[in-house]
Amino acid sequence: MTEGAPAAHRFETEAMPHLNDIFRTATRVLGERGRAEDVVQEVYLQAWKSFDRFEPGTNCRAWLFKILFHCVNHHRRKWFRFPLLKENEEFLEVNLTYSPPVPDHLTDQEILAALEKIPGDFRSVVLMVDVEEFAYKEAADILQIPIGTVMSRLSRGRKLLREQLVDVARSYGIARTAEEGQGA
């Protein structure tokens, strides 16, 4: 698409195809479809309003995700009273002493339920890198955090998620216990 193409047409071809990606991430981050719908609508409206500042040829998908997290952070302050992420030694000691193997035979719903149980900041990084396949640098830019934080949150997020998945699997009797896993 050239720079001279009408803005509406460019927006339609460059921004609208990413609606699926933006919506599913909003749903996973906010944990509720109704709120996700409102936020996604706002994301696209903001993107349209500032589309004259978007440089053709750059990554429109990453740009939309950046707007998404800006909107999410804005609404999160209004909707939730999230305690600030506690990333101290005690937290890590309690939660991350062991990284269990990923169980098989879990349904999509069980995996998504486990994802919802991990803290929001970890979840966002896991979604950006593991689901949407952004590079660390891109994820850092989208989430407005240093690249080192992306890497540490990703590692911790994956471990927390595995623990949640093992809990689910164990409740169905299809996973080994942590001790069994370590001993194996």
């Binding site: 599913r24 996973r28 409206l45 998504l112 593991d130 689901v131 994956r158 595995r162």
Partner: protein, 253 residues
């Protein structure tokens, strides 16, 4: 794309499971219409539109017209996007169920409601006289908290309906009546009743967030359509059906 070279086998497996699960979430079809509608609504303020004064004036005129139309409860999305949305939802149900669902979407869903429920006498008057006796029956049997917002005779796709629209916070519930046309019946559509109570077969269906319960009297198709869970929607219908059927069968139309 991520060039994560540190992925071990377990991380890779986790990533694949996550991607599969996350991608199972689908965008609701109406969201795209809503986005386009909100973008169109904002175009009057978009910098590209202000290069020429006459365009700015036209945009302002459109915005004023849109605002008036909105306040008159006529427009929440453009007519064409409403139609597309109604068509996309209705596709999921049998044609005889679309009769009631279409009117609910057209008349209740795409509407801006007043903050407070209007006075009962004022809205009752808007209903054709023979049908006013339905109001106490409906009010008696809807779940607690639902308030009657609108009663009227309305038209959709060339067909007339008697419509009672109720609201409880963000939840909507419609009781929709259509006079049968050309031997219309749930039986002839070969629908299987979901249950039968007091000798009345009840039919049900659902599309997206909308639950439909229905039965028929001698001359009418009667629908309850709401955002309630399926079982509660059906309970509401079965509670009011015997009295409604009796009332409608005695009507001298």
């Amino acid at each position: 794309m991520s060039m994560d070279m540190n992925l071990n086998e377990e991380d890779l497996k986790l990533r694949q499971q996550l991607q599969r699960a996350a991608r199972s979430t689908e965008v609701p079809p109406y969201l795209e219409y809503k986005i386009r509608a909100s973008i169109r609504g904002s175009e009057a303020r978009h910098p590209f539109q202000f290069r020429y004064r006459w365009m700015a004036a036209a945009a302002l005129g459109l915005a004023v017209f849109g605002g008036i139309a909105y306040q008159l409860n006529q427009l929440r999305l453009t007519a064409s996007s409403q139609e597309s949305y109604i068509a996309s939802v209705s596709n999921h149900v049998a044609s005889i169920m679309r009769v009631g669902l279409g009117d609910h979407l057209h008349c209740s869903y795409f509407r801006k409601y007043p903050k407070d429920a209007p006075k009962l006498e004022a809205i009752e008057e808007k209903l054709p006289a023979p049908y006013r006796g339905m109001v106490p029956i409906v009010r008696k049997h809807v779940p607690a908290g639902f308030q009657l917002m609108i009663t009227h005779e309305c038209g959709f796709h060339g067909r007339k309906f008697v419509h009672l629209s109720l609201k409880r916070n963000a939840e909507l519930l419609s009781v929709v009546l259509a006079v049968k046309q050309d031997g219309e019946s749930f039986k002839t559509e070969e629908l299987i009743p979901a249950l039968s109570e007091a000798g009345i077969p009840f039919y049900q269906s659902g599309a997206q967030r909308f639950q439909i319960a229905a039965f028929e009297s001698d001359r009418h198709l009667i629908y309850v359509i709401s955002d309630l869970p399926q079982a509660q929607n059906m309970r509401t219908m079965t509670a009011m059906a015997p009295e409604l059927k009796d009332y409608l069968n005695k009507l001298a139309l």
